[in-house]
Structure formats: C-alpha cells, structure tokens
C-alpha cells in the first residue's frame, strides 16, 4: 500500500514574541512556540489516520500544515499523485460548524464556491446540478441551497461543510474535530456519513480528535500526540488492546466504560506543561508514573515494534529485547 501523504520531520514554530518596543525596553528575547515538533507519519491510500491528544498538543496545527494553511518551519509534506498524475488535493472539514460557514452567504454559494474557484464546473446550470447532487449526497434536500446557514442545526451545518469539502473533488480530506461541537446522536450520524463517503469515493482521511471512542470508530491507524510530538502510533485495535506508552494508557483510562463503570482507574495527574517552555528529555516525564533520570535528560527515539506500532518511550524500549529493533 502506498502512502497518500508522507510527512517527514515536520516542525512548525510560531513567533509569540512581545512587540518590538516591549522587547527592547524589557530586554526580553524573541520567543517561539513549537506547536509541532519533528513528527513523521504516513497516511496510506484509502485509510484513515487519526491524531489524538489533549488540547494544545498541536493536532490542529498539523491539520493546517497538511492543508497548506500554514507553511512548515522545517521538514516536508509529500502528497502522492492521483491516477491522472496530479498531486492529491486536500480539503478540510472544520471543527466549529458555526464559524466555518459564512453567515451572509446562501448554502448554494457556499457549496458552489469550490466549483467556481477551482473551475470544476462551467455554467450556472452545471454548477446548480452539482450543488444539488452534493446536497443529496450528504443527506440534505436540494431545496436547502436557498437557505442561509443560520437556518440549520449544528449537524446539518456540518453536512453542508462536508458538501463544500467534497465539492473540491478531493482525494484527501483533513477533518479537524468534525464532531466535537455536536451532540452524541448527531455525532454518530456525521461519522457514519463520513465512513460511507470514504467507501464510495475512496477517500483518504486525516482525522483529528480528542475523543478516543470517535477515533476508534473511524480510524485504521492512530497516532497519539503530546506537546507537539507523536509518542505512539499503532493500528487502531492494537492500540486499544495493548497500549504501550504511559501517556496512551492514561488517555485510554479516561474513556467511560458502560459495562464496568466503577472499574479502578487512575485519574490523570498533572497538567500539560506550557509548550513555550517544554520539559527536557521526554516531554511527558513531568506526569509519567514511570519516569526516571534518563527520561529527564534524553529525548526517546521512535522505535518500531513487531505488532506494527511505533513508540517513543525509554521504559518501553528497555522492556523490549536487549537488541532493540531498528526504526
């Protein structure tokens, strides 16, 4: 299976320095926030890779890097080509259905914008047909094209957002927490719609979420991010059956379990450190129950395991065979 997208050593820093005058007067240096720190992953064709992690771990920055809204500070992003030889086009489904649709535009114009901008259809009749098709595809009525976004519920708005993304005829879709603003029942509808579209149109997804159960439903592979780094990546069921990194285990502990609601579980301790001043060595050592001196000093490398997972943790590496597998 070839990769639709391969990301190598991707880093993105943001300049968060105080204004020039304050820096001069208060003698402060420039400050940079490293939102994404040297991450690498591949997304195979037709699959779904999920990025999970707490707020502020850099998931959404990765999404915006992949779609080109931000440019990388270092590292590379490579899309493979489609059968026609053109690089894959990425479109995006956004988190907030209330901010992602222009409140002054009719649904028709919102969905027609990609058709017009990318010159995918010519003439009003063709555009209008295509908009009706897209609305039906996402489960809305072609009549809805005349309405304004405020006439729809959150779930319906997210369907419009999906229709707009599909209008650009992408092979690759970046979904930035597409369901986190929705009710649970509506979440399921939207997720099932997205899976159906993936099967029908052979789409590749990069899925961003903080919700482990949503991610389990959607993805083939999961990458767990912490403070801008990927700490563990594994096939979905492997990750849930056998989480290796202590942070992954902590995340899985947070999932409510219907059958065993009162199981013993450890509350996640501590808070995510500031990415402005990240901890030395392994970024997780401030909250890790297994941390020792080596974790404080040395940044763990990403090591591949026989079951298809990749983990960046000294303890996991030490627990493996004395002859660690090469990455």
């Amino acid at each position: 299976m070839t990769a639709a997208l391969s990301v190598t050593d991707l880093t993105r820093e943001f300049d968060v320095s105080a204004p020039w005058l304050n820096r001069v007067v208060e003698r402060k240096p420039r400050a940079f926030l490293r939102a994404v720190d040297d991450i690498s992953f591949d997304v195979p064709f037709g699959s779904c890779l999920s990025l999970v992690g707490e707020s502020g771990c850099g998931k959404s920055t990765v999404a915006r890097l992949v779609t080109g809204l931000y440019s990388p500070t270092r590292g590379s992003l490579r899309f493979s080509t489609d059968p026609a030889g053109k690089p894959l086009a990425a479109q995006m489904i956004f988190q907030d259905p209330y901010a992602s649709l222009n409140p002054r535009w009719r649904v028709f114009d919102i969905i027609a914008e990609p058709l017009r901008e990318l010159k995918l259809r010519d003439g009003d009749a063709a555009i209008s047909d295509r908009v009706s098709d897209l609305l039906s595809t996402v489960g809305l009525s072609p009549k809805d094209a005349r309405k304004f976004p405020h006439e729809f519920s959150g779930g319906q708005r997210q369907r419009i957002s999906i229709a707009r993304a599909l209008a650009g005829e992408p092979r690759f879709l970046v979904c930035d927490e597409p369901t986190s603003a929705l009710d649970v029942s509506v979440q399921a509808q939207i997720l099932n719609l997205m899976r159906r579209l993936q099967d029908e149109m052979n789409l590749t997804y990069l899925f961003i979420s903080h919700d482990m159960s949503v991610v389990r439903h959607m993805s083939d592979q999961i990458a767990v991010m912490y403070l801008g780094r990927i700490v563990e990546q594994a096939p979905t069921e492997t990750l849930f059956a056998e989480p290796k990194h202590p942070y992954t285990r902590m995340l899985l502990e947070t999932i409510p379990n219907v059958r065993n609601p009162h199981r013993r579980r450890e509350a996640p301790s501590g808070e995510v450190p500031s990415p402005l001043n990240p901890p030395s060595g392994c970024a997780f050592h401030t909250r890790c129950p297994l941390a020792d001196a080596r974790c404080q000093a040395e940044r763990p490398a990403m090591l591949s395991h026989p079951d298809g997972s990749r983990v960046a943790c000294h303890r996991v590496a030490e627990a493996m065979d004395p002859a660690p597998a090469a990455p």
Partner: protein, 324 residues
C-alpha cells in the same frame, strides 16, 4: 409596546411559500430591522422629517421662489423684509429676506442641498478609504497594519476642525482664483473625509481581525481564493453592521463640520451659500434686529442633524443583538 404575539405572526408568515424566493421588498418587510423601525416612533418621525428636508432641498430649483445663484433676481428693494406673518412681511418671501434682498426660504433650500451633498460625498469618500484601509490592515496585519493604523492615529490626534482648516487653507492657496469657488465644495469634502476615514478603518480593522481567524475564511484560503476577493466578498459583508451605524452618525457630523468651516469663512463662498455660510452672514446682523436671517438657517441645520442622530441611535440599538 406591542404584544410579542404580533411578532410571532410576522415570523410564522415567512415559511408560507417555501419554493418561491421572497422578493427583496418582502424580505425587507419581514426583517427585524423593519419591525424595529415601525415600532420606534422617534425613528419614524426623524425619518419622515429627514425625507421631507432632503426632498425639499433637492427640488429647490422647482419649488424655491427665487434662484439664489442668479444675482439678477435679487433686488435691494426687497432687502431686510421680515417673515410673512409679521407686519411688514411680503409675498413671496415667506421667511423674509436678508440685507441683499435674498429670499431666506430659497437660500435655506439651496443651502441645505449643498450641505447634504457635501455630507453624503464626504461620507462616501471616507467610507471608501476607511473600508479599504481597515480591510487591508486587518487582513494582512504586520507592517501594513502598523503603518496604516499609526498614520490613522496621527490624523486622529489632530482635531478634525484643525485638519479641515489646514486642508481648505492650503487648497484655497493652491487653486487658481477662478477655480476657488467651483472647487470649494470638493475641498470641503476632501477635508472632512481626511479626518473621517480613520474611524471606519478602526472599526473594520477590528472586525476583520476577528473574521480573518474564522474557519470560513480558512476554507476560502484553502481554495486559493485571491486575498482581494476574500476581503470583499467574505469579510466585508460581515463587518458592515457597525459601519452602517457609524456612517449614519458621521453623516450628521459631516454636515455639522461643513457648517462650522463655512461659519469660520473657509468653506462655501457667499455666492453659493451652504447653511453654515448663511449662519455666518446672518450672524453679522444678529444685533441689528433682523433675527430671521440667522435663526431659520440654524433651525434647519438643527433639524437635519438631530433627525440624522435620532436615526443613527435607533439603528445602533436595532442592530445591537444585546439590546434586542
């Protein structure tokens, strides 16, 4: 206050014909703005007064008893006549005449036309400059933003009247003498707009920085929509609400600034008097007993400015979601 039931019936009448797209007029009739307008007496009175004043001013060539621009129609025989209801009043001089024999009603109608035109033109000019500067500064940020807005701050730190005086004085010196009278209106517009655009630029810039971060703008950026089109078709319509209020209130302010400048003698010349010029001319004779040459232009100016301000206040309240 009308009962809230009436509002419900207005709202529920809307989805009656789901297929046919309602006409613009029908949409206006059903809008919240129209509802709030028809339930606000001061706003309706102000709008009626303003409409009347504007209509009268623009039909001055047809309804005014005298063409005040034509010196041949003036006669010193008719000078200093009091208003018609006083003993020495004469037809057709309803509001009396000034020392040149100029009919005050005609002068006020023609003067209002000039004042209103200068107000409209200066608002349009400062809107154009202000919206452009605000959008560009807010959308691109960085150095562009700093340069544009600091320049605006500098202009704002100088009193409007001072800027206007400076511009008019400079322009009057620069223009050849035969163009001075013709160019006076244009110079006034420029002078008022020069200090007026900053307010719009600030409003639009603040709103643009908010809108720029929203996801619908990012969706357009993903499609590589050119920045100019994102600014004009995506962001601008979402910044217009506060602009409408500011433009209305500034229209009144522009008329007042024009009147001030003309009163100070650096605005419209006596041959094409605006309301401010009329007040200045009349002011010289205030203590000689011919009070009508100053009182009526002042009343007209008040009428225009007060009704514009009442409308602006209503618009601000009607468009403010927190006050609904």
């Amino acid at each position: 206050m009308p009962s809230p039931v009436s509002r419900d019936t207005v709202a529920s009448a809307k989805p009656a014909q789901p297929i046919a797209r309602p006409s613009r007029f029908a949409r206006l009739r059903q809008s919240d703005l129209w509802y709030s307008f028809t339930h606000n007496k001061p706003a309706m009175i102000a709008a009626a007064v303003l409409l009347l004043v504007v209509l009268a001013a623009f039909s001055a060539p047809w309804i005014a008893p005298q063409d005040t621009y034509d010196p041949a129609q003036l006669s010193l025989w008719n000078s200093e006549l009091p208003p018609i209801w006083m003993d020495e009043g004469q037809m057709p001089f309803l509001l009396g005449t000034d020392t040149q024999g100029r009919d005050m009603l005609s002068a006020i109608l023609y003067g209002s036309r000039i004042s209103i035109l200068i107000g409209i033109a200066s608002v349009i000019l400062s809107l154009t400059v202000g919206l452009t500067a605000g959008l560009v500064a807010g959308y691109f940020g960085g150095i562009t933003d700093n340069v544009l807005m600091r320049f605006g701050d500098i202009l704002l730190s100088i009193p409007t009247i001072l800027i206007a005086i400076l511009v008019s004085a400079l322009a009057m010196q620069a223009l050849p003498p035969d163009l001075r009278e013709v160019g006076a209106a244009a110079v006034l517009v420029l002078a008022i707009a020069l200090s007026g655009w900053v307010q719009y630029a600030r409003l639009v810039r603040a709103q643009t920085t908010v809108e720029r971060g929203k996801e619908y703008v990012q969706a357009a950026q993903l499609l590589k929509v050119p920045a100019r089109r994102i600014m004009v078709s995506h962001i601008l319509p979402n910044t217009l609400t506060p602009i409408m209020v500011a433009a209305t209130l500034n229209f009144g302010l522009a008329i007042l600034t024009e009147a001030t400048l003309s009163f100070l003698g650096i605005g419209m010349p006596p041959s094409q008097p605006s309301l401010g010029t009329l007040i200045r001319l009349g002011n010289q004779f205030l203590f000689s007993g011919i009070w009508w040459v100053v009182l009526f232009p002042v009343l007209q100016l008040c009428l225009i400015v007060v009704s514009v301000n009442v409308l602006g206040d209503w618009l601000r309240d009607a468009l403010n979601p927190k006050l609904r």
